[in-house]
């Protein structure tokens, strides 16, 4: 379980960081989204993985740490709002600057598909 979790977080984060370093806003926003998925999972498991314990107090002998669940909910809501904002901003930048490069202009080969 721990290994699977660790691999999933690692893949999400590294894909996110790779896309974050691209030159076009669309790739960057996708990268940010993947990065926040990785971060949210990381935040979620910071309360340890307890497969056999209940989420409601009083149902079982053991219960999981409720705080990371609250934290990850907050983080999801915030990152959702931020993604919506940056998406609109990127569209606006595309309209104002005439292209979707982060510097507002094409220069060089890094933009070849």
């Amino acid at each position: 379980m721990e290994i699977i979790m660790a691999i999933v977080i690692a893949v999400l984060t590294s894909c996110g960081v790779y896309l974050l370093l691209r030159g076009r806003t669309f790739a960057i926003i996708l990268g940010l989204t993947l990065l926040t998925y990785g971060v949210n999972l990381f935040l979620f498991v910071s309360g340890r993985l307890n497969p056999d314990s209940s989420t409601i107090i009083g149902v079982g002998q053991q219960y999981t740490d409720p705080l990371p669940q609250a934290l990850v909910l907050t983080a999801i809501v915030i990152s959702f709002a931020m993604t919506a904002f940056v998406l609109i901003l990127a569209l606006r930048a595309r309209a104002e600057l005439g292209n979707d490069h982060v510097d507002g202009q094409y220069n060089g080969e890094d933009l070849k598909p």
């Binding site: 806003t25 940010l32 971060v39 910071s46 309360g47 705080l67 915030i78 930048a93 104002e96 600057l97």
Partner: protein
């Protein structure tokens, strides 16, 4: 319980909502609500700071949860001082804005108050995750403010600012999760205790979390190598917004002071002062690069933005020295640099409007209409930011210089700080003489500056004189503040020893079962 502690969060929140609902109402009404609210916040901040004079640490437990459970707001001397600095800055910026410099005004005022809510909350909170939430509140407001007014330049620099800060927020969450997974708490006072007693196998993860936090706060504070977003963003923002943003870098600095003195400070056992070896060289490089940027800038507002970077470098150096004297000097200089940089941004806006199409480029152009008035103000502001006597910049820099303790510190700090001041003299005298003296033989067709707006600039600039004339009480307060910050046990005891009023221990025992 004293409810005044939460007022700096609630007042701007309610004002922001009211202003949002009042969109489309007469401008005069919106402006007066906004201005009244900031006056109220100023009064609250003064009450809070006078309450902290005797060293009392007010703890406000939200929802009446006994710390370390639940979120606490803490007012100590440091928080109170930062609140006052923000309120004064916002007071003059909004004063300037309501004198007709807030177009399109419909959206500006409510967002400014949401920004203030985030800033005040970040200064008050005693909970690491809550700090993240308030950071997000102020960042979202700042994204909107930066783009306020539109235009290609703002969109471009705004995009960089937003993307960088979103990546920064992810790092903040990662580090918060790391620290939580080891300590099992997010309350900063409780975390400080847990970190101090960390076992050797816990140290690597804690160190990683602590240093990741430094990256996050360094991004907010515009520390090398994370300052590249700042100059363009500040130079393209509208004047009242740029002035308000002068506090934004200081939020990062505040977070560095708070976290690396309280959680990872002198008492943190194996992790004591984990960030300071990184802070010292980065501070000096920030200082040097900021000064170089100011010299190279071809626009006045860009130059001022680089002066903000220089002040960040100076302040970081003061923090990295990690002594009570240095911290006291740092906080004195922090007030000074925030207010003077903001005044310079407002002044640059007035100058820009009187130069027609030349705007704020540092080239020969038409003469400004009120050359004597604006020229003298620019001279005073420059003298203050460079650090000439008798203004407060001189006092602050002198205190930071004399706080250098070891020979190596003295050598590097004196060389770079004095050299950067010299470079600033060259840069500012070049731009001042080009704008005011080396002009074409005509005056641009422009209206005179609004006297009210001019008065806001004069008011903000006069604060530097106040800071130096009232130097003795100000320095005494900042010394008391530094002593309080350097003794984290005071903060920890105040938070963890906080008793909830009307809390019956027997009733609580029954609740637990």
């Amino acid at each position: 319980m004293n409810h005044l502690a939460i007022a700096p969060v609630l007042i701007p929140l309610l004002t922001g909502i009211v202003l949002l609902l009042g969109t489309g109402r007469p401008l005069a009404l919106q402006r007066s609500i906004s201005f009244l609210s900031i006056v109220l916040q100023l009064i609250v901040a003064m009450f809070l700071i006078s309450g902290s004079f005797n060293g009392a640490i007010t703890v406000y437990a939200l929802g009446n949860w006994t710390p370390p459970f639940g979120i606490v707001l803490v007012v100590d001397r440091l928080s109170a001082l930062m609140l006052l600095t923000t309120a004064v800055l916002a007071f003059f910026s909004l004063w300037y804005a309501v004198r007709g410099n807030d177009k399109p005004a419909d959206s500006l005022h409510s967002v400014v108050h949401f920004l203030l809510m985030g800033i005040n909350g970040a200064f008050l909170t005693g909970d690491l995750f809550n700090l993240f939430v308030f950071f997000e509140v102020l960042l979202l407001a700042s994204y909107t403010l930066l783009l306020h007014g539109g235009g290609a330049a703002r969109i471009k620099s705004g995009l960089h600012y937003v993307l960088l800060n979103l990546a920064g927020s992810s790092l903040f969450l990662l580090s918060a999760a790391m620290l939580y997974s080891v300590t099992g708490t997010l309350n900063m006072a409780d975390m400080a205790l847990k970190v101090a007693h960390a076992s050797p196998e816990q140290t690597p993860l804690l160190t990683a979390g602590a240093l990741l936090l430094l990256v996050v706060f360094g991004l907010k504070a515009a520390m090398v190598p994370l300052y590249f977003w700042l100059p363009r963003a500040y130079a393209s923002a509208s004047a009242p917004v740029a002035a308000m943003f002068c506090i934004m870098t200081k939020i990062g600095l505040y977070a560095i002071i708070r976290v690396y003195s309280l959680i990872f400070g002198n008492d943190a056992g194996e992790l004591a002062n984990v960030a300071h070896p990184f802070l010292w060289p980065l501070a000096l490089i920030t200082l040097a690069l900021g000064a170089t940027g100011a010299l190279a800038a071809r626009e006045l507002r860009l130059q001022i933005a680089y002066l903000v970077v220089v002040s960040v470098g100076t302040l970081l150096a003061g923090i990295a020295l990690n002594t009570s004297a240095a911290l006291s000097a740092t906080l004195y200089y922090l007030m000074h640099s925030t207010w003077v940089c903001a005044a310079l941004f407002l002044l640059a806006d007035i100058i820009m409007h009187q130069r027609g199409a030349t705007a704020d480029r540092i080239i020969t152009g038409p003469a400004v209409r009120q050359a004597v008035m604006l020229g003298s103000l620019f001279f005073i502001a420059s003298a203050a930011i460079i650090g000439m006597p008798p203004l407060s910049g001189f006092v602050g820099k002198l205190m930071i210089l004399s706080a250098a303790d070891s020979e190596q510190h003295t050598f590097w700090l004196w060389t770079l700080l004095l050299l950067s001041s010299f470079v600033m003299i060259i840069a500012l005298s070049r731009s001042g003489s080009t704008i005011f003296w080396r002009t074409e033989n005509r005056t641009a067709k422009a209206d005179k500056a609004d006297p009210g707006a001019l008065l806001a600039v004069i008011g903000m600039l006069s604060l530097t004189l106040v800071l130096s004339l009232a130097g003795e009480p100000a320095i005494r307060f900042s010394q008391a503040l530094a002593n309080q910050v350097m003794t984290p046990s005071l903060y920890i005891n105040a938070v963890l020893g906080h008793q909830i009023k009307g809390d019956d221990p027997t009733a609580r025992g029954q609740d637990d079962e």
